[in-house]
């Protein structure tokens, strides 16, 4: 049980998807001004990430590798995660009208988010450690947690910085990117923890 927990923490904190592996930076970089949309998209992407990477991993083990079609994994993974994202986005559009209206295309783009696809690619390429299914779920859950944590963190920083009078050259995105950079420095400090 403890190695599952350490796998999750490792994926969430030590090699965090956004700050250390620099995947999904594009999704994080469009800092939305209000925290609520940031939380929504963070949770949505986390769910999509967990589901798609587990399904991709199963596909990889039981269909692609027996048939020797490993080289097709990129197309398959992107296909599966974007279908999944569109299905979930459809559900969100039905029940959560306001959330859907706040970011009309944000939910659909979550499917082709480089973090989502990146995690499934990484899982399938590391052969020895992720043989059993539970580890895959743990790693993808960890990276989903890490991604959501960074997105919500930067959203809260955006709210905090919206009331600071930074010089004009650093007004919005420069200050946010500096903050992300410094935070990434601290995540690097966790290297070698697990």
């Amino acid at each position: 049980m403890s190695d599952i927990a350490s796998l999750i923490l490792a994926a969430a904190l030590v090699n965090n998807v956004v700050f250390v592996q620099l995947l999904g930076v594009s999704a994080v970089a469009n800092f939305s001004e209000r925290l609520q949309p940031a939380i929504d998209i963070a949770i949505f992407t986390a769910v999509v990430l967990i589901l798609s990477s587990t399904i991709n991993q199963l596909l990889f083990w039981f269909i692609l590798s027996p048939l020797g079609l490993e080289m097709l994994k990129l197309i398959v993974f992107i296909g599966i995660s974007s279908i999944l994202a569109t299905v979930l986005a459809r559900i969100v559009r039905e029940n959560f009208k306001l959330t859907a209206r706040q970011q009309p295309i944000g939910f659909y783009l979550a499917g082709i988010n480089s973090a989502v696809v990146g995690v499934s690619l990484l899982n399938s390429s590391i052969t020895p450690s992720l043989t059993n299914f539970l580890n895959t779920v743990a790693v993808s859950a960890g990276s989903a947690l890490g991604f959501a944590f960074v997105l919500v963190g930067l959203g809260a920083i955006k709210i905090r910085l919206s009331t600071s009078d930074a010089p004009d050259a650093f007004r919005h995105n420069p200050v946010m990117l500096i903050s992300a950079g410094i935070a990434a420095m601290s995540f690097l400090g966790f290297a070698g923890l697990f």
């Binding site: 209000r34 029940n95 959560f96 009208k97 959330t99 209206r101 706040q102 919005h172």
Partner: protein
């Protein structure tokens, strides 16, 4: 791990306990917020409609605020409402997290709230303005003198053109504004930081 020291077991239990309580709390909060954010069609339109100024003037191209709210929920732009002015624009942009766009000049400018006043002696009692008023603010019967109930009039000036003798004119409302404290130092004007400086930015 060698034979666990008693304090190690204690801390592990402590941490698992804290983690469990935290997860339960987080789940409850998530479920509660999901329930609140589950917004169906009609509630969504009402939520938007609440922010519009309700002058029912039709300057946005729709014949009332409710239809305009309906259109916004379908994706219509948010900056079509001159009477709402900056206040409505800021509120709608905050609610719908839209891109910040300045007020659409095509729909006319808006300076101050006006109230319709009928010059009673010229009124011939043709009832046309009563039919045109969206909020029933005009009092009077056929062939009888009409007058506008000032408290109810929204200043939408829909009654001005149907009047054959043109005896309605719009008088600006002069609110007795009492002197108020100014902000000692708001964020300098050159700032266009979101989400709250939509006003300055638009």
């Amino acid at each position: 791990m060698e034979t666990p020291f008693v304090s190690t077991i204690f801390t592990v239990i402590l941490f698992i306990g804290i983690a469990l309580v935290f997860c339960l709390y987080a789940l409850a909060v998530a479920y509660n917020s999901l329930k609140q954010r589950r917004v169906q069609d009609q509630i969504f339109v009402d939520k938007i409609n609440q922010l519009l100024p309700q002058t029912q003037c039709g300057q946005c191209g729709y014949e009332g605020c409710e239809p305009y709210a309906q259109a916004i929920s379908q994706g219509e732009a948010v900056n079509q409402c001159p009477p709402g002015g900056m206040a409505t624009l800021v509120k709608l942009t905050t609610l719908l997290n839209d891109q910040v766009k300045p007020l659409n000049p095509a729909h006319g400018q808006f300076e101050v709230f006006k109230v319709a006043v009928i010059r009673e002696d010229e009124c011939i009692g043709c009832v046309k303005c009563i039919k045109a008023c969206p909020v029933d603010a005009i009092l009077g019967g056929p062939k009888l003198m009409h007058t506008v109930i000032e408290a109810e009039c929204t200043g939408c000036d829909l009654c001005v053109d149907p009047c054959p003798v043109d005896c309605i004119d719009m008088v600006p409302v002069t609110a007795a504004e009492s002197p108020a404290w100014a902000l000692p130092s708001a964020l300098p004007d050159d700032l266009n930081n979101f989400p709250n400086n939509v006003e300055r930015q638009a």
